[in-house]
Symmetry: C2
């Protein structure tokens, strides 16, 4: 098995990258909706990704040529309007997603293995 | 549920602290044996805690008054000898371990929950 890293648990940026690539593969929501959805999803686990962390990850994907963005105008044109950005995968991004999905499966399972081992060591066999 | 952190996955230092407190509760091995054992345990998961990380954690536990250490002489007295340190829990450390065990159970389960959610989101239902 080849590991992405040989360190401790996977990094937040690697974790968010997988979500953002997948979301950009069938783009419909703009950045702040993506952020709200991720926050709602992980709320039961006390994890609330920050605005900064999300946009840093988008920016890296953009610089590496994996995503592009299109702007849309949101809101009633006679009232407040807002320009929002929807990120979508480039051809290069589609290849990256395919490769990255495989790497990250190993990486997620590796990290879960570390934590499960500790849970069993300290609190006894885990109910499956 | 009260979480130790509201961030992403638990930190390596928090993870090592639990092992080191537990090991100090029934002390028999000195630092480098503890390190080797942890490395062997987590080798299947590609995690190899560093010497620096381990001793930084011991040092913090020592400064906080949770562990003390006694020295032992290792090796044949007529040949090479080496002074090694065995860490053991203080009374304060025993209380800390009791509290910390409870916190860390929540924290380990919280982190596993984040990773399992991602595994299921990206690769479908996880076989139990």
């Amino acid at each position: 098995v080849t590991f992405v890293s040989r360190g401790f648990l996977l990094k937040q940026k690697a974790f968010l990258k997988l979500y953002l690539l997948e979301i950009a593969a069938s783009p419909k929501d703009y950045g702040s909706v993506v952020l709200d959805d991720l926050r709602a999803k992980f709320k039961p686990y006390g994890y609330s990704p920050s605005h900064t962390e999300l946009y840093k990850t988008y920016k890296e994907l953009y610089k590496q040529g994996f995503v592009k963005r299109r702007s849309e105008i949101k809101g009633d044109p006679h009232e407040n309007i807002q320009e929002v950005f929807i990120y979508y995968l480039t051809e290069k991004g589609k290849d990256e997603l395919e490769t990255y999905r495989k790497l990250m499966k190993v990486e997620l399972e590796r990290s879960i293995g570390i934590l499960q081992t500790a849970l069993e060591d300290h609190y006894g066999p885990v109910r499956k």
